[in-house]
């Protein structure tokens, strides 16, 4: 009985020893982030100021003045890049329709018309523009809005959109 208890106590000591090492590892793991936090607090560079460092945020903030709250926009981007959700968040409650950058022109134009979207946003990427975006550049229904930032902005006149032969 006593032997069993001793054995259990050694087991507890082993777990506690491993845990103590693990706590030290946690300090090392969260160290850089804690350091960044301390620096930011010291500089007073917190809250919204952190977002201002992001070009995407500055672009979206500028877009807030261009796109009315009641309007809808189509956003061409790859979902996995994780930037689309940020733009949707910054521009909420504007209605957001995500399409792939590779979307064919017919479907892009159909979606813009069907969803009554008055803006088209294309986030810049390393890849060349897809067929839908290429067609938008050459269509009279799209008017480029000159807004510096990591993407292209077009005001759309859905009444001028025709589809069915762009592919």
């Amino acid at each position: 009985m006593a032997a069993a208890k001793t054995w259990r106590l050694w087991l507890v000591r082993l777990i506690l020893g491993l845990w103590a090492l693990q706590v030290l590892w946690l300090v090392w793991h969260f160290g850089p982030e804690a350091k960044d936090l301390a620096h930011r607090v010291a500089r007073g560079d917190v809250g919204a100021a952190i977002r201002q460092e992001e070009p995407l945020y500055r672009w979206a903030t500028a877009l807030q003045a261009v796109i009315p709250e009641s309007a809808a926009y189509v956003f061409l981007d790859d979902y996995t890049a994780g930037k689309e959700i940020e733009v949707r968040y910054y521009l909420a409650p504007r209605r957001h329709i995500l399409l792939s950058p590779e979307v064919p022109a017919s479907f892009l134009f159909y979606a813009l018309h069907q969803e009554h979207a008055s803006f088209l946003l294309i986030r810049e990427s390393q890849k060349p523009l897809g067929p839908g975006a290429q067609a938008a550049l050459h269509s009279h229904a799209f008017h480029r809005v000159n807004l510096p930032g990591p993407g292209l902005v077009f005001r759309v006149d859905p009444s001028l959109l025709r589809w069915g032969f762009y592919d």
Partner: protein
């Protein structure tokens, strides 16, 4: 400077209102709130307050009433005042006031200070990390935070602006939007402080429940620190604004109260309070209702296996937490039907045996990896081995069935997940830590029972 002070004051008042509402409901739900410890009262007041407030916001939407701070807080506060004026409410307040001047003497010694210091260190990092950085994590930006911002800006539960996951329950988005109303603006960094608060309440609840299991104060503190500082998942969830930490909180509350009830060690009203926890689970996350149902199933199986005195009658008593689950699930479900919201059918496509084999490997790796939960799960495995026959012959079986059953459920869920083979590892990586987080506080409670053996 004055503006910042006013903003913080508004935040504190907003949070205080949640505690106040919850406490008043506590006086209605349990015969004598003082039967619960101070930490338990604080934790359950916040949990119940958050439930009441967000369900009220859902009611306002149903009635077509636009959100405003006056409409969100006014009627519940009037009701709260009425509840506190009832004989039961008056007695509860009187008892609280009577015990205010009596300060319990807490004599902490070396190791206690160290353990408390370790827990304090976690919050010294997590609280400013939550409150000073803007919302940034994927689900927080894509779902919870985005909905909260839309609910605030459109002054209602407007789901036309967001297409993904509209059918998800809305406790967290509504609670965040309530805080925006309290702050008078969308301030997604300050509102995030509810997450470290929720984490602190969860740890307080664990500490208190461990004490009820018969552990010494030092062991309770050790167990709490062992959960808080084991792996990265718990700490990260203190500041990423995901719904998983609140779900883990409600799960711990529900499991803890049901365990005490099964062990005949529960304060009066525990079953009703447990029902509220199950309602919270259902209203918190999509995974909540099945998780809550497994709590009830584990409790029923434990009763049927152990067959304590009047066990059939006790089985019938489980209808109280079942009613809580239904009350937490039904309002939102009916709302989605009324609004014709498309319900996701993610996990009901097909059965993929090769995914199941991989899921077993990933699950074991997740449980054993120090990166996720440190040494908590291996310690639990050892504690269960050491427990021996007691596991089958005591209500400890309930917690073991719940945790073990849900680990199996995770494997099954991955086996039917409709993902491409190439995407499967990433899918598991993005979800497994969170699914385990829901269970880990309950696993810590089970570990407490193992520790009790050692102390004895």
């Amino acid at each position: 400077m004055i503006e910042a002070g006013v903003t913080w004051l508004r935040l504190l008042l907003g949070l205080g209102a949640i505690f106040f509402l919850g406490y008043a409901w506590l006086t209605l739900l349990v015969p004598r709130p003082r039967d619960f410890t101070c930490l338990e009262r604080a934790a359950f007041s916040f949990g119940v307050g958050a439930l009441v407030l967000t369900f009220w916001m859902l009611t306002l939407t149903w009635e077509g009433v636009t959100f405003s701070l006056k409409m969100i807080l006014g009627p519940p506060l009037v009701l709260t005042a009425a509840l506190l004026l009832t004989p039961r409410g008056r007695r509860a307040v009187r008892e609280e006031i009577q015990t205010l001047p009596v300060r319990p003497r807490i004599a902490l010694h070396g190791w206690d200070w160290l353990l408390l210091g370790l827990i304090g260190m976690v919050f010294l990092y997590a609280l400013p990390r939550a409150g000073l950085y803007p919302l940034w994590a994927w689900d927080a930006v894509a779902t919870w935070g985005c909905k909260a911002k839309i609910f605030y800006t459109t002054r209602g539960l407007d789901l036309t602006c967001i297409e993904a996951h509209n059918y998800y329950p809305n406790l967290i988005p509504l609670l965040l939007s309530y805080l925006y109303f309290a702050l008078g603006q969308v301030n997604d960094s300050l509102a995030q402080v509810i997450f470290p608060l929720w984490g602190a309440l969860l740890l307080g609840l664990l500490y208190s429940l461990a004490g009820r299991l018969g552990l010494s104060r030092r062991s309770c503190l050790g167990l709490t620190a062992f959960l808080a500082l084991n792996g990265t998942v718990f700490i990260v969830h203190l500041y990423i604004a995901y719904a998983d930490l609140p779900l883990a909180f409600f799960t711990l509350g529900g499991a803890g109260l049901l365990y005490l009830w099964l062990a005949d060690a529960a304060p009066r009203g525990s079953l009703t309070l447990g029902a509220c926890c199950l309602a919270g689970m259902a209203w918190c996350k999509y995974e909540g209702p099945p998780l809550a149902a497994t709590l009830l199933l584990a409790a029923a199986l434990t009763l049927a296996w152990l067959r304590p005195g009047r066990w059939v009658r006790r089985l019938v008593h489980l209808s109280v937490p079942l009613a809580g689950l239904v009350a937490g699930y039904l309002p939102w479900r009916l709302f989605t039907v009324q609004q014709k919201l498309e319900i996701g059918a993610d996990h009901i496509q097909n059965f993929y045996p090769q995914q199941m084999v991989k899921a077993i490997y990933y699950l074991l790796a997740g449980l054993l990896s120090p990166y996720y939960f440190g040494f908590l799960w291996p310690a639990l495995a050892l504690a269960l081995i050491v427990s021996g026959r007691r596991l089958w012959r005591s209500p400890m079986l309930f917690l073991a069935l719940f945790v073990g059953g849900n680990l199996l459920a995770i494997i099954l869920a991955y086996a039917v997940a409709p993902t491409a083979a190439a995407e499967f590892p990433a899918y598991v990586r993005a979800t497994l830590d969170r699914l385990l987080l829901h269970l880990t506080p309950v696993a810590a409670l089970l570990l407490a029972l193992g520790l009790k053996d050692l102390e004895g």
